[in-house]
């Protein structure tokens, strides 16, 4: 590990001024960054520990929530307001990693964990994300876990966060502060597709700090679910995951949200399927048609073509279950 300095800050201003130092990195729980430092993939020379900042969950008049970037993943999933109003988010967080890691991980760090695959960690392998221009061994290699949507010839890694798939479905906004002022970005615009620059995962600029995530209130608390399919039943990254939320008006779909995990370089909001479903009857046939439309441009690699069918099935099954739910398990 490259040597570094360490500063724990208690004021945002201090974080922002230290964050402009060359080689500075913000430190959350460290569950991703410390690992990458040990592998010499990340080599910060100054760690600015921001776990003491933005540790609250606040609500607005309409029932929406602002979740501080420093709140631990476990604390989000345990918060009564999150569990009652955004059960999808609690479920997605609880589907990720292990209890130990969720106790350490912060919301900001979860959003900013690297989009990655096993080749990214292997210093014998070619990886455009680790070393731009060096090539991608995953595309012709073992790629069971890789992307089927939005990949490029340069990179097929997937964003591993479960939490972000729920946030994408819930229309969350990322609040950012930085040397040139503060700004907000929709979560769905925050992460990038790989294109020809897979070394850049997000739109965050140098020195910028995530301060909170904003969740607008919605009518989905009664019909929403997070389904994660993986190679073992717990403590594994998603092959495919589906965050789904429905609001019905009689038998018709008044409002629907769908996002997929494990399939792309970013949390994948299923806009095509949503558009196909709006105002339609909530029937399995329409769900299947919408899933088909969403996955129309999906491309499999040697080992992951199964994900295309799997994603469609999990979408349809999630929506069928949600539409059948009587007074709905939350």
């Amino acid at each position: 590990m490259t040597p570094f300095l360490y500063e724990k800050v208690s004021e945002r201003g201090d974080a922002l001024s230290l964050g402009t130092h060359p080689g500075a990195a913000y430190l959350g729980g460290g569950t991703n960054l410390v690992d990458l430092m040990r592998e010499a993939i990340a080599r910060p020379t100054l760690l600015v520990d921001v776990t003491g900042l933005s540790c609250k969950i606040e609500e607005d008049e309409k029932g929406g929530l602002r979740i501080g970037a420093g709140v631990k993943n476990t604390a989000v999933a345990t918060d009564r307001r999150v569990r009652a109003r955004f059960p999808l988010l609690a479920q997605a967080i609880l589907a990720g990693a292990s209890a130990q890691i969720r106790n350490m991980a912060t919301v900001g760090g979860n959003v900013l964990q690297r989009t990655r695959c096993a080749y990214f960690y292997d210093d014998e392998a070619h990886c455009n994300k680790r070393s731009p221009g060096s090539g991608c061994d995953a595309i012709g290699g073992f790629n069971r876990n890789h992307a089927i949507l939005g990949a490029s010839p340069a990179c097929a890694a997937t964003h591993p966060s479960d939490m972000c798939v729920a946030l994408a479905a819930l229309d969350a906004t990322v609040s950012i502060d930085g040397p040139r002022g503060s700004r907000d970005l929709p979560l769905t615009d925050f992460h990038r597709l790989p294109g020809d620059a897979p070394e850049i995962d997000t739109e965050l600029r140098s020195g910028e700090l995530i301060t909170s995530i904003v969740l607008p209130s919605n009518g989905f608390s009664k019909r929403s679910s997070y389904r994660k399919v993986r190679d073992r039943s717990s403590y594994a990254f998603a092959l495919v995951s589906v965050a789904a939320a429905l609001e019905l008006d009689g038998g018709r779909i008044k409002n629907v949200r769908l996002a997929l995990g494990g399939v792309a370089h970013k949390p994948w909001r299923a806009h095509v399927a949503e558009a196909a479903l709006a105002g339609r009857p909530a029937t399995e046939a329409f769900f299947a048609e919408a899933a088909e439309a969403e996955l129309r441009d999906a491309k499999g690699l040697r080992d992951n073509t199964f994900k295309i069918k799997l994603a469609k099935r999990v979408i349809v099954d999630s929506l069928v279950k949600l539409s059948n739910a009587k007074d709905a398990p939350r």
Binding site: L27, V34, D49, N103, M104, S234
Partner: protein, 175 residues
């Protein structure tokens, strides 16, 4: 740096790169906490910080100065085993024993989480007030601790039998 480990205040002059796991094992000789994968994937290094379970391999020691750290060595009182340790012996909750300190600290952390109402991925209704602790809940909640010997049946029996009677680590921390 100043640490509070198993109720004792300890000083260490360590490199900033030192993980909490290496601090415990190499600097304080507390070798009960084990290093398996050193990357968050096995749970052998689980310790409690202010009663919450974490993986000490992914933690930089410097982040945990002044916090109450409890390791497996801090669970006995006056030489007597913790009830959960007794239960692991009674139910054959281990074979080689390498994962055991992590399993035990993790189970104590899990008991705290159940008491404070932390739901899990298998909790049928995350919004419900009460959580029914059954086999599936324990399995899911303990999935961050891998046992290479596959002693899972004994581990779950030991935990189920002891749940509810596990004293909070806070209560044990007093010098």
């Amino acid at each position: 740096m100043q640490f509070v480990i198993n109720g004792r205040s300890l000083d260490a002059d360590v490199d900033l790169r030192t993980s909490l796991l290496d601090l415990l094992r190499d600097h304080f000789g507390l070798s009960g906490t084990k290093k398996g994968c050193n990357q968050g994937a096995c749970g052998a290094c689980t310790v409690l910080v202010d009663g919450n379970r974490i993986n000490s391999c992914l933690a930089l020691a410097v982040q945990y100065q002044g916090r109450k750290i409890t390791t497996v060595e801090g669970l006995t009182s006056n030489g007597a085993l913790h009830p959960l340790q007794e239960a692991f012996v009674a139910h054959d909750g281990f074979q080689c024993g390498y994962c055991t300190p992590g399993q035990i600290c993790s189970a104590i952390g899990m008991a705290n989480e159940l008491r404070t109402g932390v739901p899990s991925y298998v909790t049928a209704d995350v919004a419900a007030e009460a959580i029914t602790v059954d086999f599936d809940e324990i399995r899911e909640r303990m999935s961050g601790n891998i046992c290479r010997c596959g002693a899972y049946n004994g581990i779950i029996e030991a935990i189920s039998e002891t749940l509810g009677t596990i004293p909070l680590p806070e209560a044990k921390d007093a010098p």
